[in-house]
Symmetry: C5
Subunit: 362 residues, 5 copies
């Protein structure tokens, strides 16, 4: 478990420096290597219409633009930088914006350009196999009546939302691209809640384990939880800030009636942050419980061992006493001397045992 | 005690993610399952009149609306989402507002809508059976001359206030819905004081226990106190913020003369926060005292045991000495050799005991 | 010492909740029970005149009002709520203001009313008998040319100031009620300096004790210091805020020329806060020194005991060796075998002792 | 490794106080002694032209000034204060600005003068030989169409950028001195990423080491990491502030279209700061793991040793028992008494071993 | 070393409360008792002229006032409150200002009066004899073309600056009183750098000591360093604030061209603060290293002692075995039984020693 975390960090961090020496604005993908072609999904809808096209050709995106529907272009896989460049050219996007789409190490942020709103964030998910948090770099570009979403991996996380749009559930079909952006954000933020749930379960199990059977792997779990909280914080704090700006945004890309919804997502991010900070605190408390439990356990063992020695050392003295070779030792010639010594041994053992028991020493 | 806390947390957190995948604005109850019907109490009063109706039918609420009295509709139980929806429809409340009423995981907040003021908060109470803090999700909607209060549980926490209104005590009958809101808030905040009292007692008992007889359950209590403080903070910090906004509110739903009263409740929330932070600090200090006490106790035991060994080991050497089988050992043939050895043993034992006593080693 | 602190806290906290259920604005005294009548002192002065009346009748206060002098009414004992109500009625004070005068748990604050300025604070004093900080609830009401001061206890803390006014020392006789308020504040703040001095002495003695003879009562003192700092912070932080507001106050009750003096008291509160934070830090450091000293002491004892055992265990082996009963053991038949063994024992003992000494193990 | 850090700190700090007593504005170099002459490189370029001159004479810089190209004068080595003074005279730079160029202890800052923009910062690099962070004092002066860069050491860190300009890669040839300043900053900030990568690797290796074989040098590494983070913070926090000011700069030396690029570097500094804080946190966690591991390891050893003693002490008692010299001890005369005792010894040893194993004591 | 710190603190703090009970504005000196007369130095200079008068009569100061030169009056020793009062009268200074000049416990601050600028601060110096920080209370009053400086001790710290003015070094002779104030501040702030250097050396030596030979005096040094940092912070934080105000001052006492110089001193205070915080952090880390080193050392000793016992206890068992008195023990009659036992003893000793060595237990 530990090694995976380490590997994960190392793997990514190494790649950032690969970009050193390149002129700024270069579109250079530094994420996990990926050989699959980028999958493109184009969805157009209005209150009454719905169309969905799945394609591998980026040029298919450019045809739809004139229709009065909401256009949602979703790109799964950002390793194909050619596609990104073509979209950038067609929608007249700034080179720095394109660079941020493919820079998987970019922290979440909201940027306003003359003709577009750019939001990049982390889609986190708890990988139950590796017991670590998987982080996916996701970006949204809102330009005119088109929203383009870029996902790092090929697994499409917004499939469910597309189904809901197709089925016409809720009010989304009646609303614009800004409401679509809100719905996508809502999906992302809901995922954070799932992760917190997973961590909270880990912490609860850990707490029981600590009181019952503390072992060194517990400390490792506590340290790993700590790292998970760092990953979460790194993703959610700048996102909160971005959503706050979105909610107070005065560009005409976000309608005023939608601001209330962004405020709602904003509230959720605050709730997530509160949860993170609380569980972080509890996790820190577990460290103290671990240290105390482990030392208590150790001390108890030593105590029992020492008690055993302490009982036998006086006995050894007694039998040593009658092993002496003095010419004149009256007890040695007593008829029941030997049995008398056994009596003393039994009395000493029992009284020491009772004394220690009474003092609750074991 | 521990398990209850764990269960409590787990139970709730699980349910938040049940909502994932639902369109936003869905009224979906995620609190504890509840089979009882929601109890509705409708109170109308002015300086001279007072009427109270208890009903199970939500439609009864809608008749009163035209009277010039203050109308207070209280709903005990928010699991019946149909009722909530009907009220929402009749009073033209925003879907997000209705969603927050039934979302028991929603953090306290104040929201202003065009026609209504919405305040949601946590009513905390100390459950002496389970020794944990019970949290109830409570919401207030202030619209026109009507105040609607929603309580998660069927136990009515505002019964006493209703009695006071009926009896005409204080100035409440002469004032409007804003003063009623203040009175309800005052009840909620007074409950927080009771909880702090309970925790302060736990901490005082714990402190005495720690100096007299520290044991591992103490550490568990310290950790549980820490969690209680987290629950309290989660409830009171956003509430303070909401009351602050209420006090500076410029909507015509809150009269200026009532603002002074909200400032008073605001002061109380600050006092509660100060108490929480102080007891948190003391609780943290107890952890150090526990760790130090437990290690002191352990060390003392080991010390006594080691002293016993240290006294007997030289004695065992002495008796071993005269157990040797040399042909020529003059002492062995002395008349009182054996008694001489006993003398040596007694002298060594007494002098070691005195030496250790003098150094205050036991 | 510890119990007193605990009692002190418990006693007060319990009473706050007695007020739960009462309508807001109720004048309900929750401080220590007190059977003495409230002592009232009425002082009137101008540059040339000075009069002082001591009375038990609150009505005597109301006669003076028309004179052009500064009127200072001082009430010792706020348990007599009738008096408070009568004063409130005569000077037209808001019910919430009166409630705060008798609520001994009220935190320090400054409130501006239309016709009055209200300042409540804590007068702290170090009780050398019980070795704890006594906290007294004190309030000032500034209305027109009258200043009313309310003290919780019968012991009059402002006696000295009254003497100074009577003697005409300083410039106070030439100034107004605002300067009187400043002079009273100055007395209160000076008391805080005395307390910090007391605590600093405790900490210095503790520090020496810790390096010389640490014991578990030291830890208790450290924890009690911590609580004292909490009491101080609770009193001084909100007071600083209040004085800051007073200094920037634009009501005509505070003259501009007096603001400079309030700025001076404000500076003193900051100095007190700096001292508190510094001593808190030092106190925390003492905890580490305690823990380290106590464990060092313990370890040294164990080390000495173990060294004694370690020297005797090889000796016991040697004498055991020649206690064996083999038919053929040449040393046993040596003429000086026994003395040879003694020689070995002495050599082993001395060399082990020297070895341990050289390594500075004892 | 430790000593190098210490030396590094000491060496520099000592020299700051050498300046005490000098009048302010004195150009006094306090960095590492350096005997090499300062190397000067003058680069002039526009979209179509590129010229590069390497010289040792500072006067060569002053000829180029009139050409309409971008002029970049780079000085490697600031110990030659004569050169600095001549440049200051020619470009009319403020004495305090010149003082800051040669004061290698100056913290990063941005200063606006009437005719110039002055930015000083630290170029950090990880020295793999000494395993420490090398800090180089670098300053930029932007005046008219000339940018002057001052580097403390002779090793030119901007060589690569110059090559890129010569090759005409990217858009830099088409842009002005402000974009050149941005490009230089980008090189500096990219270096920080490399350092964080190095530290992150150290921390990961350390973490594995701690779980497998903790030793005291680990603690030293943790303390050294801590110092590295302090060096990084000291360099990056004020730099972030400076870049923020640069981005919002309204002097006509920075074009508006370039501000977007400075915002990008600003984002990078925030990302570096986040990484520093996260790794600091992880490093702190390692300290706890170290302390816990080392004490666990110690305790385990003591436990095994004590178990060995505990098994042999009862055995020694048994054999002592039959070493007694009583006249009447029936077992001594049994035919198989001796073998019986051996049986008892074997049984006791095995049962104690099993008991300890079952309790998982070793 | 410790006692000196304690004495230093105690001595001063006691005296603050001596002032309790005095009317505000009283000029009461609370610093160290001093019997020497106050030494007064009056320096007047312009670009071309320079005069210096040393006197004991305060009246000599008042003659110079009309000349158009810069007048700098320096008073060494503030215990002579008569002098202070006379100066106050002549220059029409506010009583609170005069009180602050002699109140050696006053924290650094800048105050603007109608006709004067008042700056009070602490001049710190490291006393190598007592190994503690000496704090001197210094005040500056800037009024018209006169600057009056008040020093607590008779040792004149500004002697060097006066020499520099006399020699006409730098640009100071051409500038006004504001530049003189800046030069004095520069001297004070340079002293802080010296102190940080001293502490940094102490910390470096301590660090080496801790890794080589930790002892309890190390902990005392760490605690003393902590106190030194508190003294430094108490002096430098409010000074930074004051210099910031000075730099943005809009009174006509500070010329705009001098503001740049104050900004430079302000930068230095920030650098000092950064250094303090960094060394504080390192000092805290040393505490952990100390605790870990001391416990490691202790544990190692115990381990070696226990290993010695563990080797001898089985040997004692073996020799005890052949000390038994059974009638039938074949080994006792073997020809080489005794040497066989010696063989067993040697084998056991060697194999245990090798086993422990291999496990790196000593």
């Amino acid at each position: 478990m530990k090694n995976q975390h380490l590997k994960y960090k190392n793997k990514k961090a190494k790649k950032v420096t690969e970009k050193n020496g390149l002129p700024p604005g270069s579109i250079y993908y530094i994420g996990n290597p990926n050989d699959n072609p980028s999958q493109i999904t184009i969805v157009s809808y209005s209150k009454d219409e719905f169309s969905e096209i799945k394609t591998l050709l980026v040029e298919d995106c450019f045809a739809e633009k004139d229709s009065c529907n909401v256009n949602w272009i979703n790109i799964d896989g950002i390793h194909n930088t050619d596609n990104i460049e073509k979209i950038g050219l067609h929608y007249k996007l700034h080179p720095l914006l394109l660079e941020d789409i493919v820079n998987t190490e970019q922290r979440p942020k909201l940027e306003e350009y003359d003709n577009a709103l750019f939001l990049t964030l982390k889609l986190l998910s708890y990988n139950t196999n590796t017991q670590e948090i998987d982080s996916e770099h996701v970006s949204f570009v809102l330009t005119g009546n088109t929203l383009i979403s870029f996902q790092e991996n090929n697994a499409d996380s917004f499939e469910l939302l597309r189904k809901r749009i197709e089925a016409g559930k809720g009010t989304i079909r009646a609303k614009g691209t800004d409401y679509l952006l809100y719905s996508l954000l809502d999906v992302v933020v809901d995922n954070y809640f799932s992760i917190i749930e997973n961590i909270s379960e880990t912490i609860e199990n850990l707490e029981e384990e600590l009181f019952e059977n503390p072992n060194q792997s517990s400390l490792q779990t506590i340290q790993n939880n700590k790292k998970d909280f760092l990953i979460l914080r790194k993703a959610i704090y700048p996102l909160r800030e971005s959503i706050y700006k979105l909610q107070n945004n005065d560009s005409n890309l976000i309608k005023e009636s939608t601001a209330k919804y962004f405020r709602d997502v904003y509230d959720h991010t605050i709730q997530i942050i509160e949860n993170i900070e609380n569980y972080r605190d509890i996790n820190l408390g577990l460290k103290d419980i671990y240290l105390s439990s482990i030392s208590l356990k150790m001390n108890r063992i030593m105590q029992v061992l020492t008690i055993i020695s302490t009982i036998f050392i006086p006995l050894t003295f007694i039998v040593g006493l009658y092993g002496m070779n003095f010419d004149f030792m009256p007890e040695l010639h007593w008829r029941y001397g030997y049995f008398f010594v056994w009596g003393v041994i039994v009395v000493v053992t029992i009284s020491l045992t009772i004394a220690f028991k009474r003092k609750k020493w074991f």
